[in-house]
């Protein structure tokens, strides 16, 4: 079987500007939603208490809200989680509240209201921890960006490193933009997914760049756009099949992974889709515009120096 029977190089570089404008618009939209709506951070980052309970029958969230309000917990968020029988209760941090007793007292209030409530999990995060997590996440992101730039600059050339990282950081912003637009919960696993995507879609650029470097040596007469077109065309089959395979694994997680892995898989899905686009169609034009040339890879033969006495 073969999906890609491409006989001629596809002139991607002729449309480079279009690709970049499209991605610029998406990027600006993502930034806009991030700025206006902001991310919906999970309790891990904001601090607070999260209680997941399971009822024998379908749960009435309004009734639960009333029961909690009756027990003195007013500022709570009660939503269904996965199924109509599972309920997630979020409570903000309150100064002076005995966090340790909260879980038990909430359960007490719920049990009074409806019998047969099962506590599935309680998560309490203090304000200090949340702040640190956010800081550490930012440091991790910087470290990944720095590490990848250095590695690519050593293995290839700084132009490749810079374009690859710009293309892939723009993926990260777009993933975050989606999370801001839909107000999906941004939790620690999502952060992990975002960073994994960053490492993963840089691969894509690496594969194309590898070909570009090879082509500079092989295709002596070709122009830079021709070389890049050929590199993208000859790797496109691999690009799509690889991403398709990874997406199969992620899709399986999206279907079978339940609520906990849902947003993790969702972040990966967006990352993979935009990763293909940006690492190939955004990174390569950037390399071209940054002025990559054959001389940077193929060393001109030095004329032999004569011995001097």
């Amino acid at each position: 079987m073969e999906f890609f029977k491409i006989r001629k190089d596809i002139p991607f570089m002729r449309h480079a500007l279009v690709f970049n404008v499209v991605s610029l618009i998406t990027f600006v939209a993502a930034v806009f939603f991030l700025a206006t709506r902001g991310l919906h951070f999970s309790v891990e980052f904001t601090g607070g208490t999260l209680i997941e309970v399971s009822y024998a029958q379908a749960a009435d969230t309004q009734k639960i809200r009333d029961a909690l309000a009756g027990a003195g917990y007013t500022d709570t968020q009660v939503v269904n989680f996965g199924s109509s029988r599972d309920v997630l209760i979020r409570m903000p941090l309150k100064p002076g509240q005995d966090s340790a007793a909260l879980g038990a007292s909430v359960m007490g209030a719920l049990e009074q209201d409806t019998a047969g409530v099962e506590l599935k999990r309680v998560e309490f995060v203090g304000p200090q921890v949340g702040k640190e997590l956010a800081e550490n996440g930012a440091i991790a992101l910087l470290l990944v960006v720095f590490g990848i730039i250095v590695y690519l600059a050593l293995r290839f050339e700084w132009r490749f490193a810079v374009s690859a990282i710009i293309a892939n950081l723009h993926d990260v912003v777009i993933i975050l933009g989606f999370f801001a637009f839909f107000q999906w919960e941004f939790s620690l696993p999502v952060l992990a997914a975002v960073l994994a995507v960053l490492g993963y879609s840089v691969n894509e650029s690496v594969v194309v760049f590898d070909r570009v470097r090879e082509n500079f040596r092989k295709m002596r007469k070709a122009t830079v756009p021709q070389i890049i077109d050929n590199a993208i065309t000859s790797t496109i089959s691999r690009t799509i099949i690889t991403h398709g395979s990874t997406q199969l694994a992620v899709l399986s997680m999206l279907i079978f992974g339940g609520e906990v892995l849902h947003y993790f898989a969702l972040a990966l899905t967006i990352g993979i889709l935009f990763g293909i686009y940006s690492s190939v169609l955004v990174a390569s034009p950037l390399v071209m515009w940054l002025g990559v040339s054959r001389e940077q890879f193929v060393k001109p033969q030095k004329p032999k120096e004569e011995a001097v006495v």
Binding site: L143, L191, V206
Partner: protein
């Protein structure tokens, strides 16, 4: 040319065999078990205990499936949970005849069903995280400032007695925030004091100050001393937590330091979080202080004190029995000096009592204080979260030497037991606060395992089906390489006993999806070589060689992201990162070395190879 030297095949075979061996324990599952460990340092777990447990089970007619002993515990395995619970009750009754004064912890646990020879090779099943097996997780923050303040208070008390011993006249010794200030009338006394303190307290730094007519000597702790105290505080707290959790009877608790001032406590299988929190949350420190008897008997002063204005140097407390009293702020002894506390009975009136044993320094201080204060009252306070409670305030009848102290009076047996437990479990060197807490119910744990397993399984099947259809035999080889990757990854996780969490399982699924990349690269490259007219054998060689550089680059960039997560991530992110990084490493081996090995075995020895089973390449 597509032949591996023999040693490479042997290497692959050995790695695969080891992988299989260390993955094996995961397939046996777990059996219900009863675990017996000792609470007291004096009670050793040894072969005798093993024999005794065996006897008990025999006497009760409970069939077990094996008894095991390690350094800390004896474990008995049972066929089903019903027998397990019956056995637990039987063992508990026999080993701890006096429930009030238990010597052993008898806890329910799960142990691997894998055969003994595997266990002997340290081939153990993967260690499941709390989100997969259910339990409680706490992150405790140690109040380091509290530890330093406490130390300064104790030092201030030491300085007072030092000044008295050396006959140095001073105008008062007080702790002011993070320093101790001593006032003097003249410089001569100050110099004398400074010389005396410098030789007795090497941890202090001094500054001399002028405060009005008075001369002042300010002492602060040296930075290295502060560091030492903080390190000691966290160690002491961990030890104390160990003791307290042992009382809870948890099978495999995890108590670890995290960062400079945090402690992680994980109690797998514990569902009664209220009790766990209660015991952990008893961040109690013990203090012995003298009661200000004169003022305590003055109703006018007491009335004023009850409103929050106690006389200088004292604090107002209400005793457990209800009587108010004033306790001096000066601390005579802290819980650090306590080596043991046991509930018991008073020899004379057979009232419930608590017997305390002090270390030698504590015994000496106690002797001095009791000698000087016969007839007065002494208060034993339990300080919890900055708030004190007077447990008891007995009258000192005689000088008490030898470090053996008995507290009795107005206590029930249960109370005596509680007080002894709290004291024995040790006092915390510094107060602690729960900054993160996670409780996972057992049903959620089982659900999470199923979700993670299904995600991985169906993801794998989908990739396998696609690869075989698209690349035919080479696709099958890629799938075999991918299976090897999974096998090695699980073997490595089992070998390292890294904790597997739900994000960890997600990382396994994701790693499989990403690892196939290497094989896709290779297969595509081989097809391309064939298309460009290379012979099948040359195409295999060129395909593997050319693809390798790309595979290396892409794995390194993934590894950079993985390592950053490993370094800066905590909790769920770390669980993800560990598996992700290991998976990248194993995939390099399996997708390149193992798949090439299989290809070489199949095609390497054929001289006249017309075509490769790698799908359609003839369209050009």
């Amino acid at each position: 040319m597509n032949r591996y030297p023999l040693w490479k095949y042997i290497l692959i075979a050995v790695v695969l065999a080891l992988g299989l061996l260390y993955t094996l324990p995961n397939f046996f599952g777990e059996a219900p078990a009863v675990q017996v460990s000792s609470i007291k340092a004096t009670v050793k777990v040894d072969a005798r205990l093993l024999a005794r447990v065996e006897e008990i089970l025999k006497a009760e007619g409970i069939a077990h499936q094996g008894l095991f002993a390690d350094q800390n515990s004896v474990r008995a395995r049972f066929g089903d949970t019903e027998t397990q619970i019956k056995a637990k009750d039987a063992v508990e009754r026999a080993l701890n005849p006096d429930a009030e004064n238990a010597a052993y912890v008898v806890a329910l646990n799960l142990i691997s069903r894998s055969p003994a020879w595997l266990t002997a090779m340290h081939a153990l099943p993967m260690y499941l995280g709390l989100d997969l097996r259910g339990g409680v997780h706490f992150l405790l923050q140690v109040d380091m400032k509290g530890a330093l303040t406490k130390r300064l208070d104790a030092t201030a008390a030491d300085l007072r007695s030092l000044m008295r011993d050396k006959g140095v006249r001073h105008g008062g010794i007080v702790r002011e925030r993070d320093q101790i200030a001593i006032r003097f009338r003249d410089a001569e006394m100050r110099n004398k004091a400074r010389a005396a303190i410098e030789s007795a307290q090497p941890d202090l730094l001094f500054t001399e100050l002028q405060d009005g007519a008075d001369l002042k000597l300010a002492a602060t702790l040296k930075p290295e001393a502060q560091k030492r105290i903080q390190e000691f505080a966290i160690k002491q707290n961990i030890t104390t937590l160990h003791n307290r959790i042992n009382e809870l009877g948890v099978a495999e608790p995890v108590i670890q330091q995290q960062g400079a001032d945090r402690i992680v406590v994980q109690l797998p299988g514990v569902q009664d979080t209220a009790k766990a929190k209660d015991i952990l949350g008893r961040t109690a420190t013990l203090e012995v202080r003298l009661v200000d008897d004169e003022n305590s008997q003055n109703p006018a002063v007491m009335e004023e004190a009850a409103k929050g204005n106690p006389p200088a140097g004292t604090e107002y407390y209400v005793e457990r029995s209800g009587g108010p009293l004033l306790v001096k702020k000066q601390v005579v002894l802290t819980g650090d000096r306590l080596t043991d506390a046991q509930p018991g009975f008073d020899n004379q009136n057979h009232e419930p009592a608590v017997h305390l044993t002090l270390d030698s320094a504590g015994a000496r201080i106690f002797k001095d204080v009791t000698r000087d204060n016969v007839g007065k009252r002494m208060a034993i306070l339990l300080i919890e979260k900055g708030k004190g409670e007077v447990i008891t305030a007995p009258v000192i009848r005689t000088e008490i030497g030898g470090g053996r102290v008995q507290i009795s009076g107005r206590m029930s047996t249960v109370e005596a037991n509680d007080v002894a437990l709290l004291l024995r479990a040790g006092s915390l060197a510094a107060p602690m606060e729960i900054v993160e807490e996670r409780t996972i119910g057992p049903s959620l744990g089982a659900e999470n395992i199923e979700r993670g397993f299904n995600s991985t399984l169906y993801g794998f099947i989908a990739i396998a089906v696609f690869m075989v259809i698209y690349y035919l035999l080479f696709g099958l080889i890629s799938v075999l390489a991918l299976s090897t990757n999974l096998l090695l990854l699980i073997a490595l996780l089992s070998m390292l006993q890294a904790t597997l969490t739900l994000p960890g399982i997600a990382a396994i699924a994701l790693t499989l999806g990403m690892a196939i990349d290497a094989n896709v690269l290779i297969n595509e490259r081989i097809r391309e070589e064939l298309r460009n007219g290379a012979t099948p054998q040359a195409a295999i060689t060129a395909g593997y060689e050319r693809a390798f550089g790309t595979i290396l680059d892409s794995n390194v960039t993934s590894l950079i992201a993985g390592l950053a997560l490993l370094i800066f991530g905590s909790g769920p992110v770390r669980g993800f990162a560990v598996v992700h990084c290991l998976g990248i490493l194993t995939s390099m081996f399996s997708s390149v070395v193992v798949s090439r090995g299989i290809v070489n075995l199949i095609y390497g020895s054929r001289r006249k190879l017309a075509r490769l089973s790698i799908g359609n390449v003839a369209w050009k």
